[in-house]
């Protein structure tokens, strides 16, 4: 009897679940269409791809494009530039976002808090095409930054044309653009921390700094690890649209990254197979780093990202 009822209940449950599973279907369809189907294009990396012959008519050449890529005279320099700029953006960007969210969380006056939040979000929504014009105006030789520097008897610094400061300019402007938006996640994490812990620490005589260090930060740690691991996947993409709009041959030395290089050689030079070979390499490195980071966090903190 009870067995019977249980069965019936399960059946009913399954019935209602079918409906929910069906709801998933459109999303799944688009996921397959836009994320899995294009993966067929990976084939291009192993071919001498000719558009008219198509993906299945082009000649297979094995690892030719990968070998060519690693024999390019500039490849070491370009990978170094990419990693330096990407790592700089990840580290400084994450630090700024965390610091900003902790500080913002301390503000009690709601109006002020919301205003600051909106102001720092704003640059995120502007495209680099627009912002590049602003950056060029600010940092050119007769721009306002150099005018301010000259008041202190410094400069002028040719930010746009000096390969020593150019990566700094790229990292700095990107952090400025994105830290506000990235702090949203951290703000949410802070809100999720049990207020009782803070109270208890305060009663025990912990200073503000000690509370940040021993309550807030540990409470945020899972999110920080997650975000850090996710951003590692982009270690080989240093931000095409930003750099493309700001660089020039004069700063190729430190500013030419994988994306811009592949763009010039692959797309403008119409070497599609080479372009996809580089893209594939980058995805593999990104995935390896993500899996590595996941394993490491599991080992260190007993928490898994996925």
């Amino acid at each position: 009897m009870s067995e019977n009822r249980k069965n019936r209940r399960q059946k009913a449950k399954r019935k209602s679940e079918v409906f929910y599973h069906l709801m998933m279907f459109p999303g799944l369809f688009f996921l397959i269409l836009f994320s899995y189907v294009p993966m067929v294009g990976i084939l291009m990396a192993f071919q001498d791809f000719v558009p008219a012959k198509g993906l299945f008519g082009s000649e297979f050449v094995g690892l030719k494009h990968f070998i060519y890529m690693f024999h390019l005279p500039d490849i070491a320099k370009i990978i170094r530039n990419t990693v330096v700029i990407a790592l700089g953006k990840i580290l400084i960007g994450t630090f700024m976002a965390i610091a900003f969210s902790i500080l913002l969380n301390e503000i009690r006056r709601q109006f002020f808090k919301k205003t600051v939040q909106t102001v720092v979000y704003l640059p995120h929504f502007l495209s680099w095409v627009v912002l590049a014009a602003v950056v060029v105006n600010l940092f050119s030789l007769d721009g306002s930054v150099n005018q301010i520097l000259s008041v202190f008897g410094l400069g002028p610094v040719n930010f746009m044309g000096n390969s020593k400061v150019f990566p700094g300019l790229i990292i700095g402007t990107d952090v400025w653009k994105e830290f506000g938006y990235n702090s949203v996640v951290y703000l949410a994490a802070i809100t999720g921390i049990d207020a009782g812990l803070h109270e208890a620490a305060a009663i025990d005589g912990a200073t503000w700094w000690q509370r940040v260090l021993h309550v807030t930060l540990p409470g945020m740690m899972p999110i920080i690890l997650l975000m850090g691991a996710m951003s590692l996947t982009s270690i080989l993409s240093a931000g095409f649209d930003q750099i493309y709009n700001l660089y020039s041959p004069i700063v190729y030395e430190t500013g030419d990254v994988l994306d811009t290089y592949v763009y010039r050689i692959g797309l403008v030079g119409r070497q599609y197979s080479f372009g996809s070979a580089v893209g594939l390499c980058r995805s593999i490195v990104g995935m390896a780093l993500l899996l590595g980071a996941n394993g490491l966090t599991k080992k260190l903190t007993d928490q898994k990202i996925f």
Binding site: S237, G239, I265, G266
Partner: protein, 567 residues
């Protein structure tokens, strides 16, 4: 995070894959027979098929545009006096598949090519693109339609290049494009604000041969910097584009004129003592870079050289921050006119830079530049030839056409840019520039009447220039006055005085090593040159290192490949 390139490639491949599957479904045999039958049909009916008998054909085009084409209000690239004339005359309907400026256009073409879906008619900029289109079997064979439909005048124009023009677009004995002709464009001219020179009481070119030395050029730029006759902030002596040199002899915003005066021919393949060399790797090029590096060091060259865009440099000129620039003979029409718009007192004098022997070095151009191609899917490939007939034969030689289309005459008078024509290329006979100028000059001197001037373009030039000389202040007249009497006048004078020293370069097809290594070698060259000029690299050391890198990274192989190609 920002895998734009990856996404683009993916999108491209997806589109390509779809194309493949579509054509597979549609049945390869039907496209094959359709193509065959329309071709034979065209050949059979021949020229007798009057355009009007054909039903209105929709032509999808790729159009390269110009930022400031001076189109009257309400007119667009897709719908203007020229397109309306073409639509009525040829009974077609022109629809723009895509429009883009300068380099963006080349990118559009690249994308269309990678998707395997090209417009019915479009222009491509380089022989490499043409070759790729041919190899991918995307474009139509135009041999028959050219033979059948091209007018005698059009054929005569191509013949004036001694077969070189059509040879460039012939693959396996098939004409695959209607090429834009490319007559010699003359040297990169030094344009100097003559109103400033007058106000400062400066005297240059005292022997009157229209040539100045490099020292004189420096003196002019220095004096302008010191005296600042434009009254501007942040004065700049000489501004150059980030690419410093150009493969075109007349390269605008480049230091070609200085390089040529030192017998250096950057980005040029040529033979010396029976040996093929690349001009950017010669000792003479090193000397030329040394001059620019000295300018930079002395503050004569723009301290922000390398990071300035094309528009930045135009702005420097328009703001009166600099009064010396380099460019081809026609920049008054589309670039220097911006300066006149800002300052009605602006006047320019045109000079060539002379070698130590008092000669002016120049090089011949390849016979073609720009190619009109027709999609293989398009059923009326003859339209491209008919367009060429209309714009380069009838419009130039048949005055009644302008009476039928007064708005086209108005366009020519207003100096609306030629790129608004649906056929955005120039097809002119080899000597057309100086021939036209000879007539214009004779007319201005009162030796012949306006009605005797053959080409409608020179007629409108005459009208513009006389109006300007009478003090109308007309901007088009100002531009034509400077480009014709200044720019072409200089070329005419140097030709008459026998001052030119002509170099005939080698124009190689892209070799297999070029395909893989050229982008990299170009990067090496561009990067090294700008670093030498800005003093990051030592001239001597940096240049020698560049030459040896260039050779070892494929340059030597490419030289061998091209040498083989030549024999």
């Amino acid at each position: 995070m920002k895998n734009r390139l990856w996404k683009k490639i993916m999108a491209g491949s997806l589109a390509a894959a779809m194309m493949v599957s579509l054509t597979a479904c549609g049945g390869g045999e039907s496209t094959g027979s359709a193509g065959g039958s329309s071709e034979t049909e065209a050949a059979q009916t021949g020229a007798e098929t009057a355009t009007s008998e054909r039903e209105t054909v929709t032509v999808r085009m790729g159009r390269q545009t110009l930022q400031n084409a001076k189109l009257p209000d309400g007119d667009t690239y897709e719908d203007n006096a020229y397109t309306r004339m073409a639509e009525k005359e040829l009974n077609i309907d022109i629809v723009d598949e895509f429009e883009a400026n300068g380099e963006d256009y080349d990118r559009q073409v690249s994308l269309a090519l990678s998707a395997g879906d090209i417009p019915d008619i479009m222009k491509v900029g380089s022989l490499d693109e043409l070759e790729e289109l041919y190899e991918n079997d995307l474009i139509a064979d135009l041999t028959n339609v050219y033979e059948t439909y091209a007018s005698d005048n059009l054929k005569a124009i191509y013949d004036s290049y001694g077969g070189r023009a059509l040879a460039n677009v012939t693959y396996d004995d098939k004409i695959m494009a209607i090429p834009a002709t490319n007559a010699d464009s003359g040297p990169s001219i030094v344009w100097v604000r003559s109103d400033w020179m007058d106000s400062l009481g400066m005297k240059v070119d005292e022997d009157g041969d229209s040539c100045i030395t490099i020292e004189e050029l420096e003196t002019i730029a220095k004096t302008f910097m010191e005296k600042n006759p434009g009254g501007a902030d942040n004065v700049v002596g000489i501004a150059l584009a980030s690419w410093i040199t150009s493969g075109d002899p007349d390269g605008t915003y480049t230091m070609n004129s200085v390089a040529y005066a030192l017998n250096a021919f950057p980005k040029t393949w040529y033979e010396r003592d029976g040996q093929l060399i690349y001009g950017s790797t010669t000792e003479e090029m090193k000397e030329a870079l040394a001059v620019a590096a000295r300018w930079f060091d002395e503050g004569l060259l723009d301290p922000q050289v390398g990071t300035r865009t094309w528009d930045d440099i135009t702005a420097l000129l328009a703001n009166g921050q600099t009064g010396v620039t380099f460019g081809t003979w026609h920049i008054p029409d589309w670039l220097l006119n911006n300066i006149y718009a800002m300052d009605n007192n602006a006047r320019f004098a045109a000079y060539a830079v002379e070698t130590a022997d008092g000669k002016v070095n120049c090089k011949h151009n390849d016979a073609t530049a720009g190619y009109m191609v027709v999609s293989k899917q398009f059923e009326h490939p003859e339209i491209v030839v008919e367009l060429a007939n209309l714009f380069y034969d009838r419009l130039a030689n048949d005055p009644s056409l302008l009476e039928t289309y007064p708005e086209v005459a108005e366009y020519q008078k207003q100096g609306v840019d030629g790129s608004t024509r649906p056929m955005n290329v120039e097809i002119n006979s080899y000597n057309s520039l100086l021939e036209g100028f000879g007539q214009l000059q004779a007319c201005l001197n009162g030796e012949i009447t306006v009605d005797e001037v053959k080409s409608t373009e020179e007629k409108s030039n005459y009208e513009g220039i006389t109006a300007y000389l009478e003090g109308s202040g007309d901007a088009t007249g100002w531009a034509k006055y400077h480009s014709r009497l200044g720019g072409v006048g200089l070329i005419q004078k140097l030709t008459d005085d026998d001052t030119f020293e002509w170099l005939t370069p080698v124009f190689p097809r892209t070799t297999s090593t070029m395909e893989t290594n050229w982008a990299n070698l170009e990067k090496l060259e561009e990067e090294t040159f700008i670093k030498i000029v800005t003093g990051v690299l030592d001239v001597e050391e940096g240049f020698n290192q560049y030459v040896s890198d260039w050779k070892s990274q494929g340059g030597d192989t490419i030289i061998a490949e091209i040498t083989e190609q030549m024999h």
